[in-house]
């Protein structure tokens, strides 16, 4: 029913649009089959990319959308609930039979191009890998930081399958002076310029050599969905998801920190030394974000539960801490005056998020907030308030909370 309604709205919008611009037949008729002008495309995202209806679209050109906590309840994130962060336009012509991955660079002993079939002949590995946008939680910074205003849903933990980047690097040969591996994707710059990359980031050679760093060709046992990088994606779990390049067609083994688009300046960087809110920071004093900080989500129940006469509630969610494991999770129903320990499971593998569970008892009727707080193995704990301000609004790992009413 809902789809039909949207289809109807879309059709009538196109008709109206054609009327407006005064060339009803020509424009409408020669439009590509599934083309809808950007201004009318806002209701189209979920159907186009098979996304859950509760995904929130932040931006439609380029596509950016986040999950809400309650649709991230699965232990392994399904494609339908996975956030989308695009810097450019999704490539529109992908022929997997002609797709190649070229590896080159100053620190490469040789240069090679691999077809998808070539890559699939290497040993195949699957890991559950947590990817969180560096800007997840940006909407809470004050003064505000510019960019997509992510709240809590720019995080996922799916199963990724592919070849180890390490195996490819060993096949190519890496010189001793190698510092970084930079990626290049087939997405198009928003301006339409073929000479500009929307984004070209990467990881230091040490991260590239880790056994969980993959050149993935499957997600959750299927081809990677187009919006998530089909047919090939670099996946570097635990790091800002921008390090995991989509629509991957080239990797460059660099003898210096990669200098691609959004590696330099202020992008995906935080002040090397803490700054006061709103302070201007020179580019020289901004440092690249590597491992993401400790964080948690309450994925059940959905915020806003009316418990009626019940006074107890089972809650659950996930925790993650970049390169680290999470040691403990606590919840509070009194704004941090007291904390109760939750049951915590180990991760499926390193860099996968962990699941936690608790049973809450409420002493009396009234309005409550349930707050969750994770602690990593080094003892780092989530803050209850928004952590250190930074110019681009990264790394907000403040505690997640939900509202509950009893009675």
């Amino acid at each position: 029913m809902k789809t039909n309604r949207r289809e109807f709205i879309k059709k009538s919008a196109v008709v109206t649009f054609s009327g407006m611009i005064g060339i009803p037949i020509v424009f409408g008729r020669w439009m590509p089959k599934d083309y809808v002008p950007v201004v009318f495309d806002q209701d189209n995202f979920h159907r186009k990319f098979n996304k859950d209806q509760d995904m929130v679209v932040l931006n439609d050109k380029p596509w950016n959308a986040e999950a809400q906590a309650h649709i991230l309840d699965d232990k392994v994130t399904p494609a339908s609930s996975m956030f989308v962060r695009n810097n450019g336009l999704v490539p529109n012509q992908i022929d997997p039979t002609k797709w190649t991955l070229t590896i080159d660079g100053e620190s490469a002993v040789s240069t090679k191009s691999y077809s998808l079939e070539d890559l699939k002949r290497f040993p195949k590995y699957t890991y559950q890998l947590t990817l969180e946008c560096g800007g997840n939680g940006r909407n809470e910074f004050d003064p505000p930081a510019k960019g997509n205003q992510w709240s809590i849903g720019a995080v996922s933990s799916a199963n990724w399958t592919g070849v180890r980047l390490r195996d490819l690097l060993e096949d190519i040969g890496v010189k001793d002076d190698a510092v970084y591996v930079g990626y290049y994707g087939k997405d198009m710059h928003l301006s339409g310029s073929p000479n500009k990359n929307p984004i070209s980031r990467g990881v230091p050679i040490t991260k590239a050599m880790m056994e969980e760093t993959l050149i993935a060709y499957e997600m959750n046992g299927e081809d990677i969905p187009i919006i998530h990088g089909y047919p090939l994606r670099l996946v570097a779990g635990g790091w800002p998801a921008s390090a995991s390049g989509k629509w991957l067609h080239r990797l460059s083994i660099r003898n210096k920190v990669h200098d691609g688009e959004k590696m330099e300046g202020q992008s995906y960087r935080i002040p090397c030394d803490p700054v006061a809110p709103g302070e201007k920071v020179e580019d020289d004093n901004m440092c690249i974000i590597e491992s993401m900080p400790v964080k948690s989500l309450i994925t059940y129940p959905k915020s806003g539960a009316l418990l009626g006469s019940k006074k107890s509630l089972d809650i659950r969610g996930h925790v993650w801490a970049g390169e680290l494991d999470v040691k403990e999770v606590h919840y509070s129903i009194d704004f941090g005056m007291s904390w109760q320990k939750c049951r915590l499971e180990p991760p499926a593998n390193r860099l996968a998020w962990q699941h936690w569970y608790a049973s809450v008892s409420f002493p009396e009727k009234g309005y409550y907030e349930v707050w969750a707080r994770a602690t990593d193995i080094k003892g780092n704990m989530q803050p209850m308030i928004v952590p250190g301000w930074n110019p681009k609004g990264y790394l907000n790992n403040a505690c997640h909370r939900i509202a509950v009413k009893v009675g």
């Binding site: 649009f17 407006m20 020669w30 505000p144 997509n148 205003q149 339409g192 500009k196 308030i385 509202a403």
Partner: protein, 140 residues
């Protein structure tokens, strides 16, 4: 015989003519990617409750210029999500000009910046906001 051959030639010419027209339209259409924004600005300034319906932008002086100059490349949602001071909007425009192929806005730049700074100014949030827009539901 001659008549049949002429008929055939005419049919072929007509077909070629049709193909040329078809390709011509296709070519022209492919060369007008910004039409959506410009046409929307000219003819679709439908405002409901102070909001420009199609873009979600606030009604105000400079709205049309903003639609024309900003939305060809990126969504209006990138504007409506953000809050900046006059200086902040100005430096964002400069950044887009230096790195993202934004064109020179000429005399329109001050009107665009005024629109953005007046309608999308920062608001104080403090260190942690209240939970807002809670959708209450009966738990099973």
């Amino acid at each position: 015989m001659v008549v049949d051959a002429l008929k055939a030639v005419v049919v072929v010419l007509l077909m070629l003519f049709a193909i040329v027209i078809y390709m011509g339209y296709d070519y022209l259409e492919s060369k007008r990617p910004n039409n959506t924004a410009i046409a929307a600005a000219d003819a679709a300034l439908e405002i409901t409750n102070g909001i420009h319906v199609q873009s979600g932008l606030v009604e105000g002086e400079g709205l049309k210029l903003v639609i024309q100059n900003c939305t060809p490349c990126h969504s209006a949602k990138l504007i409506t999500q953000n809050r900046m001071t006059e200086t902040g909007w100005k430096s964002t425009i400069q950044w887009m000009q230096e790195t993202q192929n934004l064109w020179d806005l000429g005399d329109n730049e001050s009107s665009i910046i005024n629109y953005l700074a007046n309608n999308y100014a920062p608001q104080k949030k403090g260190r942690r906001a209240q939970l807002e827009n809670i959708e209450w539901y009966e738990m099973e």
